[in-house]
């Protein structure tokens, strides 16, 4: 798998340096180098691109604004000399943040982060398309249909899946890992040890949700995640 990437930096040398770095990394494929954000915007519209190395301080259009415009599937790694933009950068959901001058080692780490993300994304897409995952349970590899899951509870190093037919399935896995596999908004983490299948939630309360007649706690920390869902769907 190759990640299609582009470099956008108004300073030719900065762009040239990154270009050299990209060519050294086997899983990155360069589709364009741009010194002008405006040109990049026009040109990239017709190209497949997954990852941008994006400078923040540019004339015409700054990197933060640029990141807001690009399509959702495109991930951004900001490159800038000024850490004061980091917070704003993370607000637009940047994958990473490289502070200039950028050493190859740092660049490589960022690229690996991107690779991990795209690999995970690819798996996630397959799980969602085929609506099942395979997971180890009791030394066997068992098939778990996503539509079967009502909710999942983390118990120490294990996760117990509660299924629609009343059965449960125990598998050795961290809930954090599960969170990466089962994507929102269909599956949402509501508590340190709980994930729920949102379409099966029938009642939302202040600090718990009901799945069937089972009450699942909602902790403060994860409340914001269902907040959006509630706001979008609440009738009155």
């Amino acid at each position: 798998m190759k990640i299609l990437c582009a470099i956008i930096d108004d300073e030719p040398l900065a762009a040239a340096l990154l270009e050299g770095y990209v060519r050294k990394i086997s899983y990155l494929k360069l589709v364009g180098v741009y010194n002008s954000a405006i040109t990049a915007l026009k040109d990239l519209r017709d190209k497949d691109v997954q990852l941008l190395f994006l400078d923040i301080q540019m004339p015409e259009l700054d990197g933060i604004e640029f990141a807001k415009i690009v399509t959702k599937g495109v991930r951004v790694i900001f490159t800038t000399a000024f850490p004061e933009y980091a917070i704003e950068g993370y607000k637009v959901d940047a994958l990473d943040y490289l502070l200039k001058p950028i050493a190859f080692e740092d660049f490589e780490k960022s690229a690996e982060k991107a690779l991990e993300w795209f690999n995970m994304k690819k798996k996630q897409d397959i799980y969602l398309r085929d609506r099942f995952v395979l997971l180890k349970s009791d030394y066997k590899l068992v098939r778990l249909n996503l539509d079967e899951i009502l909710y999942a509870e983390g118990v120490r190093d294990y996760i117990r899946f509660y299924l629609r037919n009343g059965e449960t399935l125990l598998s050795l896995m961290q809930i954090k890992k599960l969170e990466e596999i089962l994507p929102p908004p269909e599956f949402i983490r509501v508590h340190r040890s709980f994930m729920v299948h949102l379409p099966d939630v029938t009642v939302f309360e202040h600090n718990r949700v009901m799945v069937g007649d089972v009450s699942i706690p909602v902790s403060e920390r994860y409340k914001s995640r269902i907040q959006d869902y509630l706001e979008q769907h609440t009738l009155n």
């Binding site: 030719p12 040398l13 900065a14 340096l17 010194n35 954000a37 540019m58 004339p59 015409e60």
Partner: protein, 341 residues
């Protein structure tokens, strides 16, 4: 100087108060012992004067606690009034009322009142003097502070190096080291020239024209590294007298401004700089393409154009002409400056 005059005034006052009886001493039959006893009166005045002048007025009156000042003075003056009255009665120099009946209550009262009021005049005078002296000192301090502040402002105007410029340049040089080592070496040399000028020459009030031109050259060369090759940058200079002195870092601000607004990565851009120096006059013409929207700070210097005006006013009052503005179609910005040397 002022201090000496003030000291002399004090001496004169006391000399007058202590010695004036001696001027009509002859023929009055007053003895020296009596004169010495008379001296108790100016002595008490002296004590009251300096007590107020040096202690009570600065501590209580000036600081605003007038109540304490009044109470302390009132008690002090009445006690001293009583003392003086008793002293004069005791020494039989009943003054100022020689006919005073010693045990008449009203006479005693008026005697004490006389001395108290007499002392009060001095206490009031000394307080007024203390307040006046203080306000004169305050004025002087204020003037000194202002002078120091103006100097500091000038220094900071001269010496600001924009950290963004420095960091951006270093990042570009870093990139150059992997791409073209020869150019990277050149760039480092330019940067070190620029820094030397900023850190050392810059501390002088005036620098030689040749050093300033070299500084501008370093700056322009470093800017060029950061720009695409499509950007046209020219720098011409004709210097008749390279040793003439000028105030540093006035022109740099104008050039920075040209780079700041004149360079666009997607459109045709140019920056043209011409500097001519004759015997008496420096002329600098800067023209650049105008691209209004620019978020990037290309400044090598923290100084904006309004501060340039201030610098010019400080260094060349009424000896410069500065014309600047956009062309009618808005595509060209020019800034022309003439300075009488």
């Amino acid at each position: 100087m002022n201090r000496h005059i003030a000291g002399f005034c004090h001496m004169a006052l006391w000399a007058f108060l202590f010695l004036s009886p001696l001027t009509f001493w002859r023929g009055t039959g007053i003895k020296f012992v009596q004169y010495m006893m008379y001296c108790m009166q100016p002595l008490v005045v002296l004590i009251v004067f300096y007590l107020d002048y040096l202690y009570l007025a600065p501590k209580y009156f000036v600081s605003g606690t007038h109540r304490y000042y009044l109470i302390v003075n009132l008690i002090l003056l009445i006690l001293l009034g009583v003392f003086l009255h008793e002293w004069l009665v005791y020494t039989n120099m009943v003054f100022p009322f020689p006919n005073m009946r010693q045990h008449d209550a009203i006479d005693v009262f008026t005697g004490i009142l006389y001395h108290t009021l007499n002392l009060a005049v001095f206490a009031g005078g000394s307080t007024a003097l203390a307040v006046a002296r203080r306000s004169v000192n305050d004025d002087q301090n204020k003037k000194e502070l202002e002078a120091i502040r103006a100097k500091a402002e000038l220094n900071s105007l001269r010496s600001q190096i924009n950290p963004h410029f420095l960091l951006n340049t270093l990042n570009n040089v870093y990139a150059l080291t992997t791409i073209d080592q020869k150019r990277a070496q050149d760039a480092i040399q330019q940067l070190s020239k620029l820094l030397r000028h900023m850190l050392y020459d810059n501390q002088e009030e005036m620098v030689t024209l040749s050093s300033e031109i070299q500084f501008l050259e370093s700056y322009i060369n470093l800017m060029k590294i950061r720009l695409a090759e499509t950007v046209e940058v020219t720098f011409n200079h004709q210097i008749a007298k390279p040793d003439v002195k000028i105030a540093p870092h006035i022109l740099i601000s104008l050039i920075e401004n040209a780079f700041k607004h004149g360079v666009s990565p997607s459109e045709h851009s140019f920056v043209h700089i011409d500097i001519t120096v004759s015997d008496k006059e420096l002329t600098c013409r800067i023209e650049n393409s105008n691209h209004s929207k620019s978020s990037q700070d290309r400044s090598g210097h923290g100084i904006g154009l309004n501060q340039v005006q201030r610098r010019l006013d400080l260094a060349y009052p009424n000896r410069y002409v500065w014309e600047k503005g956009l062309s009618d179609d808005g595509t060209l910005y020019s800034s022309n400056i003439k300075i009488e040397l």
